[in-house]
């Protein structure tokens, strides 16, 4: 069955609400301003509007209410809207949710999902384009889901709503809504914490997550025309980070390009590059390359934003560079 990313999300939410009456939606603009995608939420609105709460613009307390309800028996998902608005809720997400299980010595837990529609979406400018996975990835106690394909959008969202026992940040990229993939309902889900090899290859590993997954796949196709076989590793989740699969792939190919939409300095790619420098130095045939966003706020103007975007072309160029071509 072929589904789009947006369909996967909507279906996961619907099915989770049907399966478990504890699933509550605190805010429900999951599809942002994408009107076609918003229509996909109509079945849930029709059948479960009693579990969709109307929300004032109070991100801090909405996030906290999600945590509180989760501790006391519900399974809420808090829609923080544009991912950048999570900064308003940081105190609750970082200082409460992440610490509750630990501080209570394992007594309490908060299986809440924070949903962020994040990323460089095109003219969102400096205050609506954040990718927060690197900052949040430094917080012990938070799970960070970063699906890059429709299959994972569906499965990770459904898993987060039904199975997760920990606070989870679900980072959805707004430019992924129309991406499609095959979903076989009979196939068991790849466990959370395992990266997905989206494409096998022998010459270079391209490590990607979220929006860079389709771009890495496109890059791999272009490279193949030049006789280069790239392996695409889709992280699926930034925390937990599947270091084993990354190292295994780079051990095979000897070369790594990391494509990530966070800022270059101190980003997700930096953590992966550091891991390779620590544990993969012996099999690296060339320095690791990061294809990332320069350290600059996201500008409004189209031409400026394009300059900063992690594009297929840049991934191809980096792959050629590590191959010495």
């Amino acid at each position: 069955m072929k589904i789009t990313f947006a369909e996967g999300l909507a279906q996961a939410i619907y099915e989770a609400m049907a399966a478990d009456s504890r699933v509550v939606l605190i805010g429900s603009s999951f599809m942002g301003l994408n009107m076609t995608a918003r229509k996909l939420m109509e079945p849930a609105v029709r059948d479960y509007s009693d579990r969709m709460l109307v929300t004032p613009i109070s991100e801090l307390a909405l996030a906290g209410a999600g945590i509180g309800a989760a501790m006391c028996g519900q399974r809420p998902v808090v829609d923080l809207g544009t991912g950048s608005f999570i900064f308003q809720a940081f105190a609750q997400v970082v200082n409460e949710a992440a610490n509750i299980h630990y501080m209570s010595g394992g007594q309490s837990k908060a299986p809440v999902t924070f949903y962020c529609l994040a990323g460089m979406r095109g003219m969102g400018a400096a205050q609506h384009s954040h990718r927060t996975q690197a900052m949040l990835g430094q917080v012990p106690g938070l799970q960070i889901l970063t699906p890059g394909g429709a299959d994972d959008a569906y499965q990770l969202m459904k898993w987060s709503l039904l199975k997760s026992q920990n606070p989870t940040v679900f980072i959805c990229h707004s430019l992924l809504f129309t991406e499609t993939s095959e979903l076989d309902p009979n196939e068991p889900m790849l466990p959370v914490g395992r990266a997905r090899i989206r494409r096998q290859g022998s010459d270079v590993s391209i490590i990607a997550s979220s929006i860079t997954v389709p771009r890495a796949m496109a890059a791999a196709e272009l490279l193949e025309k030049q006789g280069i076989f790239a392996e695409v590793v889709d992280l699926r989740t930034v925390v937990p980070l599947d270091r084993e699969t990354i190292l295994k792939s780079v051990a095979k190919t000897g070369r790594a390009v990391i494509a990530d939409e966070c800022h270059k300095s101190f980003g997700v790619a930096a953590e992966i590059a550091a891991t390779l420098a620590e544990d993969g130095l012996s099999f690296l045939k060339a320095p690791v390359r990061r294809v990332v966003v320069p350290d600059v706020p996201i500008p409004f103007s189209q031409s400026l934003e394009e300059e900063l975007t992690v594009s297929t072309e840049k991934i191809v160029a980096a792959a050629l560079q590590v191959l010495g071509r």
Partner: protein
């Protein structure tokens, strides 16, 4: 209210149309994909911007939010540079770095529009504090929607402004809508002005669709603030004729509601007032046509303006005296 000169009233009429046409072009070009991003229109709320800003001097500091076109123009920014910014061109107020949601024009005292609801309130309080310690008669003004009152920062800022007696005018444009949902779903509090009293802040709720009412209320509030009587909250009841953003189909509004819009239109109301004062319909039509032609010319020019040079993308992250500036540009 009647003490305003005819010249002043005509100026208001021009400004209202200027904003209306400016945003009309934004809406038109957005529909055809020429305006990037999601611009927010203030169509129907122009009287608040025009009525309040007429009482401000160049030294007064203005803060606004994501719906700022009207405020920027009413504070005196060049429509060409403003439009260039909205479409992301090099000649824009911020050279294409900010866009519709982040319009800044230091030359007119328009210090910041923020794309984060309520993100501007505490900054305006800081500006007011700076004016207070400098012992200047300057004041700070912040425009925000009723949706911002759901944010904790609103409450924190009211508390601070009341405590420190800051020269700050809070202008709430209560259009009854927070993004896509109606105010009645967000809060049981009908009037935003009710929030001010516990902090010892004077407040008033007025008809925000009548530019003369707004102008008079703002004038007396601002005189009080300049005289040292502390902060003031002016709540302007208004009506958002446009959707939350360009392209919003407004399914949450009824047909009947859409139909009564015209009666609330601030431009039509000022026109009727001017007709009653003896202006001829032809005279007013001529003003409107003149503004319309001017704005069309501005927009035509702006559309031809150059895009920013991608090579300049690392400019302005840090100041010229930042030691890591070159390294930052080189490394990336």
């Amino acid at each position: 209210m009647t003490d305003l000169s005819l010249k002043m009233l005509h100026r208001f009429y021009e400004q209202l149309w200027q904003i209306r046409f400016f945003e009309g072009h934004v809406q038109r070009l957005a529909a055809s994909g020429e305006v990037p991003g999601f611009p927010h229109l203030s169509t129907g709320q122009e009287a608040v911007a025009v009525g309040v800003c007429a009482n401000l001097t160049e030294g007064d500091m203005l803060f606004s939010g994501h719906r700022a076109h009207g405020h920027v123009l009413a504070k005196g920014s060049d429509p060409y540079a403003t439009f260039c910014e909205v479409i992301g061109r090099q000649d824009g107020l911020c050279q294409g770095r900010g866009g519709s949601m982040h319009l800044v024009d230091v030359s007119t005292g328009m210090l910041g529009a923020t794309g984060v609801v309520a993100g501007n309130l505490s900054l305006a309080a800081g500006a007011a504090w700076a004016a207070q310690v400098a012992n200047k008669e300057k004041i700070a003004v912040v425009f925000f929607g009723d949706g911002a009152t759901g944010s904790g920062v609103f409450h924190e800022t009211l508390n601070l402004a009341g405590l420190w007696q800051l020269p700050l005018l809070f202008v709430c444009e209560n259009n009854g809508m927070a993004e896509f949902t109606g105010r009645e779903e967000h809060s049981d509090v009908a009037k935003v002005s009710a929030f001010a009293a516990p902090y010892g802040i004077s407040a008033q709720t007025i008809d925000g669709n009548d530019v003369l009412v707004v102008n008079a209320a703002a004038r007396s509030a601002i005189q009080g603030i300049r005289a040292g009587s502390g902060p003031y909250l002016l709540e302007c009841m208004t009506y958002r004729m446009a959707g939350h953003y360009v392209g919003d189909a407004q399914h949450y509004r009824s047909k009947e509601e859409m139909a009564t819009m015209k009666e609330k239109d601030p431009i039509e109301r000022l026109r009727l007032h001017l007709l009653a004062k003896g202006d001829s319909a032809e005279e007013l039509e001529a003003i409107m046509q003149r503004v319309k032609a001017e704005m069309t010319a501005v927009v035509d020019r702006a559309r031809k303006a150059a895009h920013p040079d991608p090579a300049t993308v690392m400019d302005y992250v840090y100041s010229a005296d930042f030691p890591g500036r070159e390294e930052n540009a080189k490394w990336n």
